[in-house]
Symmetry: none
Subunit: 416 residues, 2 copies
């Protein structure tokens, strides 16, 4: 690699400027962003992104699900490009960095290469994947899932939001139903920069997370049927209390996740008492469970232990507990060579770093099932995301963008 | 007492008919009743009750909190009437008997006395107390509590339901804000018939419970403030999970009540997660606690043990738990002479009976603080109430109504 390429640094102020300039598309009063996929605000940021790509000399394609691809030519156009990017949609009360950082850092990388007059061997393609968040249309990461063949394009186009609007209608409304068939844009490999969305890097004072894996996910829907009765006149031994049952399940989930830790988490995020009243023993509760691990054997153990605990609690308390697995996603193991490339870039640039597992799902996890993929994490304040309080520092964002660029340069090769 | 009065029996079929006729006001598909206080359904049953009272020759008054009083004149109008009745509101998914039996048995008694041409020495006043249940507005039994001076009328009028509607607005909406000042209708004594709402009478094959005491009540409002964060990326040891905290509190309440049992119960009936999401660790939960005992020393112990447990859990889990006592009611000891009157009536009528403690709170418990009061219980199936499955037999309801009538006759005296 030439000396110019070796020492190359992205323009930190320019990257920071684009993050904050685009945050106005859907800005919330509390400093966050509400930019639901395929909304009017999403069209604003997409139009901005398309123009920025074109101004940077990229050829922009949009696929049938609205994912955007900006191609920078390489010397060897016989090979597919190195893909790099993330998403520009946000949660309903989301922050300025989740997805945005990875997409705009890819743009910043192209601008930096252009400024430095660096040509790569392989082409580079910067990406904005449609609907990573899944807040408006389910499932999350739907465009990359369709890209890898988990869903057909028609299936995804027919998904509806809470108002009954289909993905197809929403794409047409904002003019982003593209001509390119989903999957036609091939990649040699894919790299995504993202905020960690967890507290580990910050707690350990690491600037870069070299993401080597992503957690598998088990989602359950649960329902407890005990018996509703009077809180004053039902003796304790005769109760079949649905909330006391849930309480044991919550604590069992916690202790099971801890037992299989540190590579396991388990959460009951939703619990709704049917017809709650201060002086009525809860008779029925609906709840959801989210279990994750990056280790397939641990996922099996979580499932087994949770089901056994629930069965024991239900029997002992004489209540009925239904626990249905509604989604299972296998763990992601990112491509070892790509993970090494990320680590080498972090080492070479002198950033404190550590290997890390992604707790959340990302488009790169989907893409990794059909091509070598990897991710770069940077810290976010207090581990908070999916929240208007989401925050990250300019220097951490720049560090992540530099690691991203040098990983891509190593994968694409420098021609000049 | 005349032979006619001594042998007098209420009309079992007519009582049963009114119970089932009025159950249509707020009838649920599962056979229960949803008739929240001061709702449109409550207006329906109130209109029905007013007309039934007027048809029976009673003079109906409504007080400023909507409580309804139907006066049957006695020979000696210089003395206040014997009060008799209960309530017509229900839990959100309540049954057909709780409150309804006591109110309609009072009406049936008047109809029976009218049919038999019996005049009493003292007047009789049949009552429908507003908001006994406390499901829509807190506190429960608010009208009888205001009657005895525990709250001012203005305080109660300003209480709001979950939609922010005040008691005053709700009364005006259904046209039941009466002219009579709260407390103006005086009583010589008060007797209330009610289903047991517990399993004891049924288990012991007793038809009548002679209620000599009522449990004291502690009501708390609680709020847990942990930290909302991503269910996938927040390691178990770093969590401040509001639902796991609640779970420990629920189980602590259960074990504290058992420790002080059998004369103690404790229940968390409501728990609402703020902004629940499947993949977000609950950050904030509001909940309510209901603790009861008929023994004042045990009530103190429940309060002390619960507060200590909550403090320990909050500290260990690094979350904030606020626990505010919003209501404390001392145990009730019903008037010994009235309790004897109930027992005499049951003995005279030949019904198997026993002395019993009321697990639930009742308007009679409030009224007992300013006048002699007593209660009559009849069994309910499996001890179930506050539930659409609440059930009682026609013959037990009739037995209770007969004991009620003969107790009232003994207290009021028969003039002719």
């Amino acid at each position: 690699m030439s000396r110019a390429a070796t020492n190359l640094q992205i323009d930190s102020a320019r990257l920071w400027g684009t993050i904050h300039d685009t945050a106005k598309f859907g800005a919330t009063p509390k400093g966050g962003v509400r930019r639901l996929t395929l909304s009017a605000e999403d069209k604003q940021v997409r139009d901005w992104f398309r123009k920025a790509c074109e101004d940077a000399g990229l050829e922009v394609q949009v696929d049938a699900l609205g994912s955007m691809f900006g191609l920078r030519k390489g010397r060897d156009m016989s090979k597919p490009p190195i893909g790099v990017g993330s998403h520009l949609d946000t949660q309903p009360t989301g922050g300025k960095y989740d997805g945005v950082l990875g997409t705009l850092a890819a743009l910043e990388m192209v601008r930096t290469l252009n400024d430095a007059g660096i040509e790569t061997e392989l082409p580079i393609c910067i990406c904005n994947w449609t609907n990573e968040e899944g807040s408006r249309f389910a499932p999350a990461m739907m465009a990359s899932a369709a890209y890898v063949g988990d869903f057909t394009t028609d299936d995804i186009l027919s998904r509806r939001d809470a108002e009954g609007i289909t993905v197809a209608q929403a794409l047409d409304t904002i003019g982003y139903r593209g001509d390119a068939p989903v999957g036609r844009q091939k990649f040699t490999s894919f790299v995504e920069l993202h905020i960690e969305q967890g507290p580990i890097l910050e707690a350990e004072n690491k600037t870069i997370g070299v993401v080597d894996s992503g957690q598998g996910v088990l989602w359950y829907d649960g329902k407890i049927t005990g018996f509703e009765s009077h809180a004053g006149s039902t003796p304790m031994p005769l109760r079949r209390d649905a909330l006391a049952t849930l309480s044991e399940i919550v604590l069992a989930m916690e202790s099971i996740a801890k037992k299989h830790g540190p590579k396991a988490v388990g959460t009951i995020g939703e619990a709704v008492i049917a017809a709650p009243s201060r002086n009525v023993i809860p008779g029925e509760i609906a709840f959801t469970v989210d279990c994750r691990s990056a280790d397939a054997a641990i996922m099996d153990a979580l499932d087994r232990d949770l089901r056994a605990a629930v069965a024991e609690i239900a029997t002992r308390r004489k209540v009925d507990v239904q626990l249905d697995l509604v989604w299972r996603k296998a763990p992601t193991h990112f491509d070892p060579k790509l993970v090494d490339a990320v680590e080498n870039a972090a080492t070479q640039l002198g950033y404190p770093h550590r290997r890390i597992t992604s707790g959340a799902g990302h488009d790169a996890c989907n893409l990794n099932t059909v091509m070598p993929a990897a991710m770069v994490f940077v810290p976010c304040k207090d581990g908070i995301s999916h929240n208007e309080l989401e925050d990250a520092t300019q220097s951490d964002c720049a560090a992540g963008a530099n690691v991203l660029m040098h990983t891509v340069l190593a994968l694409a090769g420098v021609a000049s």
